[in-house]
Each structure stands twice: as structure tokens, then as C-alpha cells.
């Protein structure tokens, strides 16, 4: 009912010819991809992979209609990359795309980590994992830092139980949900190496590269604009400097670090305004100045 399957015009087409343009229009698959292009800075290889996957799924729909080998395609995915490279955001968009193409019925995203799936004592894990799976049915289950499910150092770890339940559902209920496993590139690689069951059930691997400095600056400006702030020309210059320094530091987490830096800059801006004149112009209220960024600890070293 609520599944927006291919529209009637498409159904009525001849069994030998499929109008792919019409199918694209009917599923309105273009708009989430366009949104992805517009809203997300950089990530060119990721966007390219998503366009490929969307095209593949669209063609799978078309093949199904003309009676070519079908069966629900495996859609489970792995998103690898460093923190703050947009994995969760893209997962959310992916859920929307899969929903428009009719591969998931509801299109919501349930985002979890090990603690949501694995219990503390015997008999605790299976109900927890099943509960999460039931909530994710009809949508996408996003497991961040999925390798924590597997703790080879501890034989009696309950994570294994969660893994087995996940694998079973990923295999048997492919039409009910899509699982996306996410985490650092290298750790995911070793996780897949020791859990071949997962590797074989993942159809699409997408790697999220780190943002370069100019992309991070665009992100900073975009984030500021989204909450109706802007960087003054001087602040922009300081931000460029900030980004270069921050990238060298440990625990750099791409867009997330930029978001945090902006949040702190907003606090400093507020302090500066309160300490200054009794009145503030609209202009002043929305402008981040160089000093608001310059005060960061990043510049102390």
C-alpha cells in the first residue's frame, strides 16, 4: 500500500520494452540523488557509487518486469571510512532511495552500535538483537563500528550470538530490511576477514575518503549558513588555517571536527557580543569573526 511501486503507466508497458525514463520519473529517483549532490560537500566517489547502485536497482526492477532473472537483490552494504566522513548522513539518504525504488517498505533508518545489540548476561542478547531487528523491519539498520560485535579475544563474548542472528535475518528476510555495516576501513577489513559470513552477504562496499581542506571549508560555510551564521572574510582566512592545523592533530574527525569548531566559535561570538556594546546589529549577531576562531586551542600549539 504505502510502497511506491513502479506506477501504472509502467506496468501497462509492453512486456518486451521498458521505458527507463518513465520508470525514473515514476519512482522520482532523481530527486534524492540530486539532493545528495546538493546537500553533501565533496564525496565524489561515494556519490558515483550511489548513482551506480540506484541505476542497478532501477534496472533490476525493469528486468523483473520483463521476466528476466530476478529475485530480491542483495542490498546489504558496508560503508567504510574515518569518522565524520558522512557515513550516517549517506545511510539516511540511502534509506530514502531504497524506499522510492520499493526495496524497503517504510524507508526509516535505525542507527545502532554494539551496546544496542549485545547483552550483559546469558539470554540477554537474542531478545535485544531481535528487538532492534523488528524496529528496523521495513527500513535500514545501520550498525556503526560493526567490528565491535566481534571480540576474538573473548571466546564467550555474546557478540557472536548477535552476529548469528543478524546473518540469519540478512539472508532470510532480505525483502524486509537492509543492513549497512559501518566503521574504519582497516578494522572493517579485518572484521570481514574473520567473519566471511558477513563478507558474502554484503553486496556493495562504499569507501568514504577523508575531506580535503577546501571541502572542509565549504562544509564549515554550509553548516554556518544552515543555522543563519556566516564567516567574516577574516574569519574565513583563519578557518583555512584552522583546518590545516586541525587535520594534523590526532582524533581529527573530518566534518564532525568542523561542526564542533563552529559550535565553539558560536559560544565565543556570544561572549564577545555580551562583553561589548549594549546593542548588537543583526549583522553582528550573525557574523563569526576571526577572533572567535583564533581563540581555539588548535592555535596554541
Amino acid at each position: 500500500m504505502s510502497v511506491p511501486g513502479p506506477a501504472a503507466s509502467f506496468e501497462a508497458a509492453s512486456s518486451e520494452v521498458v521505458d527507463l525514463r518513465a520508470l525514473q520519473a515514476d519512482t522520482d529517483i532523481g530527486s534524492p540523488i540530486a539532493e545528495l549532490d546538493r546537500d553533501l560537500v565533496g564525496l565524489a566517489p561515494v556519490k558515483q557509487r550511489i548513482r551506480e547502485i540506484a541505476a542497478f536497482l532501477l534496472v533490476a526492477r525493469a528486468r523483473e518486469r520483463v521476466g528476466l532473472a530476478a529475485g530480491p537483490p542483495t542490498l546489504h552494504m558496508a560503508f567504510t571510512g574515518n569518522p565524520g566522513t558522512g557515513k550516517t548522513t549517506v545511510a539516511l539518504r540511502m534509506a530514502g532511495i531504497l524506499h522510492r525504488l520499493g526495496y524497503v517498505r517504510k524507508g526509516h533508518l535505525v542507527s545502532v552500535t554494539r551496546d544496542d545489540l549485545v547483552g550483559q548476561y546469558i539470554g540477554h542478547t537474542a531478545p535485544k538483537t531481535k528487538e532492534i531487528l523488528k524496529r528496523a523491519m521495513g527500513g535500514v539498520l545501520f550498525i556503526d563500528e560493526a567490528y565491535y560485535l566481534h571480540r576474538p579475544e573473548n571466546e564467550k563474548d555474546y557478540g557472536q550470538e548477535a552476529i548469528e542472528i543478524l546473518l540469519q535475518v540478512m539472508e532470510n528476510q532480505r525483502e524486509d530490511l537492509v543492513v549497512i555495516l559501518a566503521g574504519y576501513r582497516e578494522r572493517m577489513a579485518s572484521f570481514f576477514a574473520s567473519n566471511p559470513g558477513f563478507r558474502s552477504r554484503i553486496a556493495h562496499h562504499i569507501d568514504f575518503p577523508d575531506y580535503d581542506a577546501s571541502e572542509l571549508l565549504s562544509i564549515a560555510e554550509l553548516l554556518a549558513a544552515q543555522s543563519e551564521y556566516r564567516l567574516s572574510p577574516a574569519a574565513r582566512e583563519v578557518m583555512i588555517d584552522y583546518i590545516t592545523r586541525r587535520q594534523q592533530q590526532p582524533n581529527f574527525s573530518n566534518a564532525r571536527s568542523i561542526r564542533n569548531a563552529l559550535d565553539r566559535a558560536r559560544l565565543r561570538q556570544a561572549m564577545r557580543l555580551c562583553a561589548g556594546n549594549a546593542v548588537a546589529t543583526r549583522e553582528a549577531l550573525q557574523t563569526i569573526e576571526a577572533e572567535d576562531i583564533r581563540a581555539s586551542r588548535v592555535f596554541a600549539t
Binding site: R135, M137, G139
Partner: protein, 151 residues
């Protein structure tokens, strides 16, 4: 005999597809859905056994259907129902409840009459199956001629 408890018991046994559609309806109303089973179908037996607690915050019927199937598998040839709970103020009660499995053979109920003074009669409804201890009331091997088309 055909027990007619539950919302849709005058219709042919629901298919899994139909059951799933009703669960989808419940989820759209933001009701919590649970699965319950019993081998004591007395009309006043309110508390059937719970197959887990009611499922909250689900978006799709597939999760409930998995529990329905698991409950049937573990409890063949007894009564299984799906019950939906509404937590809205002014309701806070069951809003829909329907059977999703019934035994192949339903022996029904005996009506006992105890004659009292002034032509008064004290009535008691007694399920024939209740003569057996719990768990032995409906023989698992008799069933499951799959009710309806379980797609």
C-alpha cells in the same frame, strides 16, 4: 464447533498476508502489538500466555509476523491471537484483537446448570478441552492443517 472470539472470527481464517495488513493498520495507529496463545479458550479467560511483551516502536509488520510464525511453531494446534494496545489518554486499552491460529478440532463448551430456588438456574460454561491438564488439551499431531492460505 467454531469459537468466534476475536474481531474477524466470522470470516474465513485470515491468510498471513491479511494478518500482516491488519498489523500494518495497528502500527499506523501507533499501537503496540503483541502475540498471545492459550489452550484454555473459556470466554472469561482474559490472560492468555504472552509470547513476549507487546512490541513497541515498530514501523513494519514483518517483525510481528516473525513472532506470529515463531509462536505458532512453538505452540501448534492451540489458539494464537494478535492484540494491539493503544496508550492514548481516554483509551489505554486493547483496540484490536484477532485469532491467527486455532486448533484443527475445537470440541467446544458444555453448559452446566445448577437449579436453585425460584426457578433460578446457575450457569457455568465448561470447555471440554479443560478436562485435560494444561499443555495436553489439543494434541499437536492432530493439527496443523494450515488454516487458509499462508502466503
Amino acid at each position: 464447533m467454531h469459537v468466534t472470539q476475536g474481531t474477524f472470527s466470522f470470516l474465513p481464517d485470515l491468510t498471513d498476508r491479511q494478518i500482516s495488513d491488519q498489523i500494518e493498520y495497528c502500527l499506523r495507529q501507533e499501537w503496540a502489538v503483541s502475540v498471545e496463545f492459550t489452550d484454555d479458550v473459556h470466554p472469561r479467560n482474559t490472560y492468555w500466555e504472552m509470547w513476549g511483551i507487546p512490541m513497541f516502536d515498530l514501523r513494519d509488520a514483518a517483525g510481528v509476523m516473525a513472532e506470529v510464525r515463531a509462536c505458532r511453531e512453538a505452540n501448534p494446534n492451540v489458539y494464537v491471537r494478535v492484540t494491539a494496545f493503544d496508550s492514548t489518554r481516554g483509551w489505554e486499552t486493547v483496540r484490536l484483537s484477532f485469532l491467527v491460529q486455532r486448533p484443527a478440532n475445537e470440541p467446544g463448551f458444555r453448559l452446566d446448570r445448577l437449579e436453585a430456588e425460584g426457578r433460578t438456574i446457575r450457569y457455568s460454561v465448561h470447555p471440554y478441552a479443560a478436562d485435560q491438564p494444561a499443555g495436553r488439551r489439543y494434541k499437536p499431531e492432530q493439527a496443523n492443517t494450515a488454516p487458509g492460505d499462508r502466503r
